[in-house]
Amino acid sequence: MSDIRARQRAYWRATLRLTSILLLAWAAASFLPGWFAEDLNAYSFHGWPLGFYMAAQGALIIFLLIVWIYDQWMTRLERRYGLHDED
C-alpha cells in the first residue's frame, strides 16, 4: 500500500518536472520570436524573413512537437511507475 503511494508521489513529481520544462519551451517559442521579430527579420530562411517564419510556421511546429513529446513521455512515466494499463 505504501509502495503504491510512494510510486504515485514519484510519478507526480516527474510529471511536474516534465510539465515545467515543456512549459518553458512553450513560452520561449511563443513569445521570444515575437519580441525579437525585428532583429530576426534581418535573417532569411528559405525566402522567409526569419521573424515572420517563426510566427507563421516555426512556433507551430514546435507546439506540435511539445504536445507529441508530452504524450510519449507521459506514457513512459506511467509504465516506469507501474501505473500503466497494459492493453
Binding site: 525566402g47 504524450d71 506511467e78
Partner: protein, 684 residues
Amino acid sequence: MTSTPALFRRLGRYYAVYAAGFVCLVIFLAVAEQLGLSPRWIGQIFLFSTIAIYAAIGVMSRTSDVSEYYVAGRRVPALFNGMATAADWMSAASFIGLAGTLYYSGFVGLAFVTGWTGGYVLVALLLAPFLRKFGQFTIPDFLGARYEGHFARVVGVFAGVLASFVYVVAQIYGVGLITSRFIGIEFEIGVFVGLAGILVCSFLGGMRAVTWTQVAQYLILIIAYLVPVAILSYKVTGVPVPQAVYGEVLQDLGVKELELFSEPRENEVRLQYRYRAEEYARKIADLPESLVAERVGQVERVTELRTQGAPAREIAAAERTLRDLPRTSDEARIKWERARQDSLSRSVNPPPHAEAHPGADRAARDSARNNFIALTFVLMVGTAALPHILMRYYTTPSVREARRSVFWSLFFIFLLYVTAPAYAVFAKWEVYSNLIGTDIGSLPGWVASWGKVGLVKIEDINGDGILQLAELTINSDAILLIIPEIAGLPYVVSGLVAAGGLAAALSTADGLLLTISHALSHDLYYKMVNPEASTQRRLVITKSQLLVVAVVAAWVASLRPDSILFMVGLAFSIAASAFFPALVLGIFWKRANKWGAVAGMLAGLGVTLYYIVRTHPFFGGSMADAWFDINPISCGVFGVPLGFIVIAVISLLTPPPPLEVQALVDFVRMPDEGRKALETENRL
C-alpha cells in the same frame, strides 16, 4: 459496447467512403459546370447536399441516453476526437476571416496564428488529461466539485454562457452571410436556414451526433481550404504545396511593394486622399454650418442637372446623395469622422507585408510589439479556457486517449493555420501584380459582381482610368471567397469554399449551443434546482433549452449587430480571465480553496470587463485611458495574472480545503487506474 480498435476501423471506413463521395460530388459538379450548369445551381447543390449529410448523421446518431447525449458515451477515439475538436474550434472567423486579416495586417495578424495554436499546448499540459480523469459532464462540474459548492459553479456557468453566447451569435451570422450570398436568399431567411442546419445536428443526438457531424464537417472544411490555394500556388510557383513555397513569393512581394510604394501615380493618389481627409476635418470643425452648406449645394446641383436635361441616371444619383446626407450634426460628425479616418488610412502606404511591429517611430513600434505579445498571450490562454473545447476531452475513452487527442486536435488545426498566411501572400501577390496598374475599364468580371454586393469598391480618385492600390478596397471577409475568382478558377471551387465556410460555422455553433444548454440544464437545473430529476426529464430540459438558446441566438444574429464581431475577440479575454487560473490552480495547487477561487474568478472577470468598458469606444471608453497602450481585445492580459494572484492570496488567508477535496485532486492527478496497478495493490 464495441471495442475501441474495431470501432476505430469501422469509423475509418465510414469516413473514407464519405470523403470519397464528397470528392466525387465536387468532380461531378465541375463536369456539370463545363456542360453549362449555372453558378446559382452549383451553390445550392453544394450547400443543401452538405446540410443534408449533416442532418442524416444527426438523425442516425439520435439518443436518449444521458452519457451518450452529454459526452458521446466516452468512446470517441483520439484521432476522431481530434478532428471533431478541430471543427469545433475553427469557426467562421478562422475559416473566412483569418486570410483577410493576414492580407491586410501582414505580420501583425500572425498573433492569431501563433495564439490560436499555442493554446493547445496549455490544454495538453495543464488541463485535458486531468479533466478527463475527473470525468464528469461540464466545466462548471469541475469547478463545483473542486471548489465545494454552488458558488463557483454559478460563476462558471455565467462566464461560460457569456463567452459562448456571443460566439454562437457570430457563427449564425456567418451562416446567414454565406447562405444569402451563395443561394441568393434574404439574409434573415438565411439565418433561419442555418439555424435549421444547426438544430438537426445537435437536437436529437446531443454530443454524440455533434461529434460525428463535426468529423464530417472537418473533412469538408479542410478540403475546401486547401484546394484553392494549392491550385493558386501551382499556378504561381509550379509547386502545389503553398505552405512550403510561399516564402519565395513573399520575397518577390516585398520587391513589388517597394516598387508600388514609390510609384509617382500611387503617391499622387495618396496625396489626394490626404486632401480629402483634411476637407472632412474642416467640415467637422465647421458643424453645423457646413452641413447646411452641403445640403444647399447638393439641392442646387440637382436643380442644375434637371434644368440642363442631364441623363436620368445622373439625376437619380445626385438625388440619392442628397437623401443620404446626415440629418443632424451628431450624425454628420460620426459619418464624416469615419470617412476622414478612411481617407487618412489611404493617404499612407500600408506597411510591408513581412515587417515586424510597424510604426512611425520607436514608441509606436514598441507599443505594436507589446500589443502583439499581449494578443498572443490572451488568445492562447483563452483557447485553453473556452468551455466548448475543454468539454470535448470528456468524450475520449481514457486519460491517455485524451492526451493523444490533444495532439491530433493541434495537428488538424495546424493544417489550416499554417496555410492561412500562404493564402494571404498569394492573394496579395495576384492583386499587386495582375490587378493594380491595369485599365479600370477592362477589369475582370469578379470586380463588378462583388462590387454589386458592396464587398469590392473602386474609386478612380485621380481620374487617370488606371487602378492604383489606394483606390481599391476589398472587404477583409471577402478575400477568401474571392480568391478562386482572382485565380480564374471555375465556379465550382467558389461553391466548395462556401460549403467549407458553412461547415466551419455550423460545427462551431453546434459545439457552443451544446455547451450553453448543458450549462443551463445540467449545472443550473439538475445540480442546483432539482437534483432529483429523472434522466428523462433532464434530457427534455436540455433539449428545450437548446431550442430556446438557438432561436434567441438566431434572432439576435438576424438583427445584424455590428458589434458582434468585436465581441468575439473579447470572448477569449472573458474566458481566459474567468476560468484559466481557477482550473489550473485547482489541479496543480491543493491549497487553493473555494474562497480563493470565487474571488479570483470574480476579480479576473471584473478587471477584464472594466478594462473593456474603460477603453473600447463602443462603451464610450477611449484608448487614452489605456494601461501600457494595450488594446481592449487583449484585456485578459490583466485579468489572468490578477486571477492567479487573488486566488493565491485569498486561499492562504482562509482555511485549506477539506480532505475529500484534496483526495479529489490526488485522484485527478493520477493516470487511468491500470489493471496492473490494481493487481499490485491486491497482491500487497
